[in-house]
Symmetry: C2
Subunit: 353 residues, 2 copies
């Protein structure tokens, strides 16, 4: 696969983002939803910030307090034997493992804008910040589907009752309308198709199950984007392959003459995240036509291999212009980067299912 990584990569790093309050530090600006608006490329960053702890033996866990409209910071001592700090993203109370008790950072959405798709200017303030009871641990990994002049923005809403997927919409990237949680917990990696197919809206989604089953891709349908049903299992993990540990949708499905092309992420059990693709029937996206035998992109550059959580390329949005795909992606749960790939080369690389 021919991959052209931009010379400017990483395009946005945490150092480029001013924290939203002085006692916080930005540790990630990554996994951005992508849209084109008003002649510019919009990168809707997931910004992750953590409180700067005055005591090196204490972690401060940020939690949004809906009643007070501001963050609470819960101190947890690093030498407290009731807790496990081995995953830098979460604080696990050992008796409740593998569930987490707190996140170590708060994520929210912030806009970066660019005329050329390579040089971005970052807004001074958050665009979508936790405000609901289902968002008190933060909002993560946005995707953007444009339908007409409306941009539907949906993201993982994280709170002590689980992780679900919530929806907001905007027409101007200034004001936002909230539409509530569209996929109940546990769910992530929702991708809404950009047009109706045979009269129905479709969305990919990724339940995380506990009873049985694995983190795999499902598809659902809707007639209004708010209410979803007819949930069906779409593609599963493949033992011994690049998507053997977990997988989930990445970019908004791309309409091609051969079918709907979904660029998705897959990870091995040791959390090496690559990007691959799956092709779905143009008239019935619940039918899988072909799929990547090997990744279309692997974490190889330094900024992909090293970071807050290294060995990760994770796209939440791409722009298509003829045969050229500009795939924006989060690198190492830290920064944003972009790579260009050929649409026809990806399609030709897929193996019939």
């Amino acid at each position: 696969m021919n991959i052209y990584r931009y010379e400017q990569n990483p395009l946005v790093t945490p150092a480029d983002v001013k924290p939203h309050r002085p006692d916080f530090e930005v540790i990630g600006a990554f996994n951005a939803g992508i849209a084109e608006y008003n002649g510019e490329v919009i990168m809707l960053l997931r910004v992750a910030e953590r409180p700067i702890s005055p005591d090196p033996d204490v972690v401060l866990a940020p939690v949004y307090n809906v009643e007070r409209g501001e963050l609470d910071l819960f101190p947890v001592r690093l030498d407290d034997e009731d807790y496990d700090f081995s995953d830098p993203r979460v604080i696990v109370r050992k008796e409740h493992a593998p569930s987490f008790e707190y996140l170590t950072s708060l994520s929210y959405l912030r806009i970066a804008r660019s005329k050329d798709g390579r040089h971005f200017t970052i807004d001074d303030k958050p665009f979508v910040y936790p405000s609901q009871s289902l968002e008190t641990f933060g909002i993560e990994d946005p995707r953007i589907t444009q339908i007409g002049d409306t941009y539907y923005i949906y993201f993982s809403a994280v709170s002590p009752v689980g992780i679900g997927e919530s929806l907001v919409s905007t027409k101007d990237f200034e004001s936002v309308t909230h539409h509530g949680m569209i996929f109940g917990p546990d769910n992530k990696d929702v991708l809404i198709f950009p047009e109706r197919v045979n009269g129905k809206y479709y969305a990919l989604h990724r339940p995380t199950t506990k009873s049985c089953g694995r983190p795999e891709m499902w598809i659902a349908e809707s007639d209004n984007l708010l209410y979803w049903g007819n949930h069906r299992h779409l593609i599963g993990l493949r033992d011994g392959m690049w998507d053997s540990g977990r997988l989930g949708g990445g970019a908004v499905p791309i309409k091609t003459d051969r079918g709907w092309l979904e660029l998705y992420h897959g990870a091995t059990k040791d959390n090496r995240y690559c990007m691959g693709a799956v092709l779905l029937d143009l008239n019935d996206p619940s039918k899988v036509i072909a799929r990547s035998g090997s990744p279309i992109m692997e974490p190889e550059a330094d900024y992909e291999q090293n970071g807050f959580f290294g060995g990760v390329v994770f796209s939440c949005g791409a722009l298509v212009d003829g045969d050229r795909i500009r795939m924006y992606y989060g690198a190492a749960d830290t920064s944003m980067a972009c790579a260009e790939l050929s649409l026809s080369e990806i399609l030709n690389s897929l193996e019939a299912v």
Copy 2:
């Protein structure tokens, strides 16, 4: 609480049900959905059957094969150290614990009919049997909501990709229309309200989450019963109380002049299942008004304390006639029983939230 358990209890036991094939045995006839149709009480039993193993050292795990339209029986040796058989309901592959690999029985739905609500005649054949790829491990714990002349029947659909809630409908308890999975995995204990409230249908549901959160009750809304959204968390577990371990909806919500009364099950961490109640606002069921401080019913009778999984009363349906509630319930994951309670006594017992 005054509880009148029928003298005929248990009303249906596994011994009353003929297995659907000669090489199987019925181990449960329980957790029935309840409806009134054609002057009769319909008990839509969850029947659990297991293959009789010719080898006492081998368990046969039943799995529906959609292509062949019949069951596969997978042998697992009881001395295979890769597996854990300590929970009689499931076979756990230790490396995947706590997820299960197989169920030990196959559940499906079968009709029992009664003129007096106490003496039931059981149909010879299954009414709803696994037929879809999301049902290959069986279908469990049906509930029935009557809207007009249509009976909406929904149940846990269990398969290797998780447990979700699927919907069928009937007008005559003979033919059935399938409507697909309405709540994706992991989800159980869905209860659809019997009428629109302020123009929307509502349903209670019970996600099982893995990331964080506990098995608690949520509410969602719909405009067509098929597609659901605006998921909100409704009530949570209460440490040290009868519903400290898990909870979920039980009977279809009952409309009273004080609000929607939901009879729900709660269990302690050591799996003692009781029934209690929660009262929801008549015009906005996402608002909780009052709730049981102590259970309205606990497992006390011998047939409730002893069985396949003892210490369980678990209602999936009740009939209301003035102040009298006939609460049908599964006892010890084995049999069906019924108890009469006073609606006003339950309402008066609730504690304001």
